[in-house]
Subunit: 196 residues, 2 copies
């Protein structure tokens, strides 16, 4: 997706070979036009899959998941990273973050995802695929089906892409980074399809 | 705002005289049509104030702030509740939550709000006004101006409304609850203007 790649090149900051700072447009300060376009792109890719819910994890995934849901005209659920006091029947799953080297719990209210729901997972980054695996388990615990996933940015050298590919469900990456460093900047994956 | 009040009456759950569970449509599972309408309503109310940024606090305020920003065609910033490792020049402020009886830190990257910015604060709830006071301090620390605020729901018997009114800046509440209890449900504030 050219607009996202252009924005990353102009406003993203490569802090290290594994950390890309995108808080100027994607997950702290947000460009509403860009996020609207991202939602349109994901919705277009998955329009024929009979999606009934979009699911994401707070808080980086909330806006792209919301705009996707708006274009698909289905509800969006965002999994919490802590169990709110008002939650009555939480479904939880532990997720390991390699980026932050810590574990966290993701949590949804049981009745937000129903048996028979066809769920689309949207997130800001695909790296090690651990958030995807946690979401898949939560969805299965609710007797629903995770039918597709969409990621704004992937770090293609990390194992997430292979984990998704092995599962065999459709997924879409809008900007696939092959390699990055503070000195050389970003090189894109042009030779692999962005929609799998 | 009739659509919001109708949704609260149909899907909200009054857990106690001070706790309203809205996670079926506002801050966990989200109805995109409702949130789009909320953004349209806030944007309409504040369209003539020369707003340059919308600001909120993760994660309950993110979607209403985003839809408002989309209609105003300005960037939205969401203050983090923990300082991300990628943040280089954080501005922080401690906020007390009476609801959860705990303190938390809100945090924005300094360069997301600039001198001269005219900031609109959007949040899901107005209760004790502590989040508003923290946001106001952050905005002033950035040499910008908080010019208006919008809240989806207020608990009108708590001090937030008076704090806002005393400050004298325009603010809008979409659904003002006068009183609620698990036994009697919700009674609305009809006799005060919803736009101050």
């Amino acid at each position: 997706m050219d607009l996202l790649k252009k924005t990353i090149e102009e406003e993203g900051v490569v802090l290290s070979p594994s950390v890309l700072k995108v808080d100027g447009f994607l997950n702290h300060k947000i460009d509403p036009i860009l996020l609207d376009e991202i939602g349109k792109e994901f919705a277009g890719a998955f329009r024929n899959l009979g999606i009934t819910k979009v699911l994401t994890i707070e808080s980086g995934g909330i806006v792209p998941a919301f705009t996707t849901a708006l274009y698909l005209n289905v509800p969006v659920v965002f999994a919490k990273k802590a169990e709110p006091s008002t939650m009555r029947n939480p479904k939880t799953c532990r997720v390991h973050s390699f980026t932050k080297n810590t574990d966290y719990t993701i949590c949804i209210e049981q009745n937000t995802i129903h048996e028979g729901d066809r769920v689309l997972f949207i997130d800001d980054f695909l790296a090690n695929g651990q958030a995807y695996l946690g979401i898949k388990k939560l969805v299965e615990d609710c007797h629903a089906r995770l039918v597709a996933s969409g990621f704004c940015i992937e770090k293609a050298w990390q194992p997430g892409h292979s984990i998704l590919k092995q599962d065999g469900f459709p997924f879409k990456v809008l900007a696939s980074i092959r390699h990055m460093s503070p000195e050389e900047g970003i090189s894109w994956n042009y030779d692999t399809a962005e929609t799998e």
